[in-house]
């Protein structure tokens, strides 16, 4: 009889399994990923590395580029802030309260995921334009100013915040709240001292996701923005303009700066989630 004991030592890519298809599926996955995502992104990296540090720095600190990056980041920050406040409230209301139409409103939260950005853009512009149904109530202009950009980014970012907080809020155990109430805390104290701290990682993740989405957003913003350089011109639009001018170097530099920042955000989100899993035992 021959021994059937598998070799235990040595490096191996995969644990043994009776299920077939590992080579085929992983091979296709990696090939497809490389062709569609990896190689194109690497091409972008090589192009920007080819500039050298001085060339890169000079292009990245061009005043119009800095202006566009500032507009994108400041408006995305404000919109993510608004979304955190209302997104948390909406998640709370949808999870805790019962009212007619709750299911419909729950479904409507996902509208920005389903509605194409260009459609959202022209619709928001129509509403918030100076002669629009909402816009005409305001003594100042909303559309064609940075406020319009914030409005579009609120639209696009809201579901990220709500859908990140909702499942966590459903998991928060009622016993802790009961204990807090029994020990004499007012409802306000229970919410701010007991519930909100356990929601903090989810709120931070939602904020980061909404912020990252806002910074990169193009379709819903350009119609309502006005697109005036240094005032309401967002970074993705400037990339687009540079590409139309066949100024690939200029476009590459802005894209590289944005990618570096959004990958840093992605990294921070992962850190928050790892930390919250350790601290609270759950995360998403």
């Amino acid at each position: 009889m021959t021994s059937t004991t598998p070799k235990r030592d040595g490096w191996r890519l995969k644990q043994p399994s009776v299920i077939p298809g590992f080579g085929l599926t992983l091979g296709f996955t990696l090939a497809y990923f490389s062709l569609i995502v990896f190689i194109p992104l690497i091409a972008l990296g090589i192009r920007s590395a080819g500039l050298g540090f001085d060339g890169f720095w000079k292009a990245a600190t061009d005043p119009r580029v800095l202006g566009a990056l500032r507009v994108s980041f400041v408006t995305a920050l404000i919109a993510a802030g608004v979304n955190v406040i209302f997104g948390t409230l909406i998640a709370w209301v949808l999870v805790r309260y019962r009212f007619p139409g709750r299911r419909i409103f729950d479904a409507v939260v996902d509208l920005p995921f389903a509605l194409p950005t260009a459609v959202a853009g022209i619709a928001l512009t129509a509403i918030y334009a100076p002669n629009g149904i909402v816009g005409h109530w305001f003594p100042f202009r909303i559309a064609y100013t940075p406020i319009g950009i914030v409005i579009a980014m609120i639209f696009i970012g809201l579901p990220f915040v709500v859908r990140t907080i909702q499942p966590i809020l459903e998991e928060v155990s009622r016993e802790v709240e009961e204990a807090s109430a029994t020990l004499g805390a007012s409802r306000f104290q229970t919410i701010t001292r007991v519930i909100l701290p356990s929601l903090t990682p989810a709120i931070m993740t939602g904020f980061a996701l909404a912020f990252a989405r806002g910074v990169g957003e193009y379709g819903s913003v350009i119609f309502i923005a006005g697109n005036i350089p240094f005032v309401s011109e967002i970074a993705p639009l400037l990339i687009y303009i540079r590409l139309q001018e066949f100024n690939y170097v200029g476009a590459t530099v802005i894209a590289a700066v944005m990618l570096i920042i959004s990958f840093a955000m992605l990294f921070i989100i992962n850190l928050i989630q790892a930390w919250s899993r350790k601290r609270f035992g759950y995360g998403n």
């Binding site: 194109p40 992104l41 299911r103 459609v119 990169g216 687009y240 955000m265």
Partner: protein, 290 residues
């Protein structure tokens, strides 16, 4: 006595809930916010679309360029979605059914296209196939145009919709484990039989859910496609691009008429998605709600 108890009960505030007044104010605030930011824009699409009457609406849809935009959008989705389905099934099979090195990294990388601005998603293909690149002129010498043509639009669409199916299936198949497949294999089924008769029925609703979201994005993508399309009227304009062209020509009613098609697609997607969550919620992945 009984009425008194009921009376007390009604006005009693639970220690783990807010007072009725606070609840009503909170609900009102949320509904107002959602009305202003979500429902009003959707509603205004249809109002603006019919602003010049039903006749103008249908003639805008029957326009030659509009028709070609609709055909192109359907064609792009018909190529991009199935490719991403094959990829999603392969990736989740490899990730959920096997333990291998670098798995966590692979899961993170699959989500990568979601954290890239749509403009950059389109731009990477301009760098790869555009003037001054190595590939573009080489393919052109064989008569293959990628940029400002159908292949570029399809590539950009695949890029932005890349993670949808995979991110729905991976957690679902991880939850389901390998028990069913192992049982089928030990009973003598071969690999393909196991996949088609055991795995596919297990994941069908999750798969449909992923396909719905993938398709909505594929048909509605604007930024990435705008970069690679070149906007040749009647040839490389998808519905969202045609909407933009009409809007910028101050032809608002026609722009909103075409946009209303995409809005109806979005509504249909939401309805089907909610139905799947309500009816087959436990057969969908618990996480990955977007």
């Amino acid at each position: 006595m009984a009425t008194k108890i009921r009376h007390l009960h009604r006005h009693h505030t639970s220690p783990v809930s807010e007072s009725r007044t606070v609840q009503v104010i909170a609900i009102f605030l949320c509904l107002l916010f959602m009305a202003l930011f979500l429902i009003l824009p959707l509603w205004s699409v249809f109002i603006e679309a019919f602003a010049k009457g039903v006749g103008a609406y249908f003639s805008a849809l029957a326009n030659k360029d509009a028709q070609s935009a609709i055909r192109l959008t359907l064609l792009v989705a018909a190529v991009a979605v199935p490719l991403n389905v094959v990829f999603g099934v392969c990736a989740s099979w490899a990730i959920a059914k096997f333990e291998f090195k670098g798995k966590a990294l692979l899961i993170t990388l699959i989500d990568l296209p979601f954290s890239v601005s749509p403009i950059i998603s389109g731009m990477v293909y301009v760098l790869l196939f555009g003037a001054g690149s190595f590939l573009g002129p080489w393919l052109k010498s064989y008569g293959i145009e990628v940029l400002f043509a159908l292949p570029g639009i399809i590539l950009a669409t695949i890029f932005v919709t890349f993670p949808f199916v995979a991110r729905e299936l991976i957690p679902l198949m991880q939850d389901q484990g390998t028990g069913d497949e192992e049982a089928a294999l030990s009973l003598g089924a071969n690999g393909w039989q196991t996949f088609w008769r055991v795995t596919v029925p297990n994941i069908r609703w999750g798969l449909l859910y992923g396909v719905l979201l993938c398709n909505a994005r594929a048909m509605g993508e604007f930024g990435a496609v705008a970069v690679v399309s070149g906007r040749i009227r009647g040839q490389t304009t998808t519905i969202p691009l045609q909407v933009e062209i009409l809007y910028n020509e101050y032809n608002g009613a026609a722009a909103f008429a075409l946009a209303s098609l995409l809005a109806m697609l979005a509504l249909l997607t939401l309805v089907l998605k909610s139905f799947l969550e309500w009816r087959f919620g436990d057969e969908l992945a618990a996480t990955g709600r977007h």
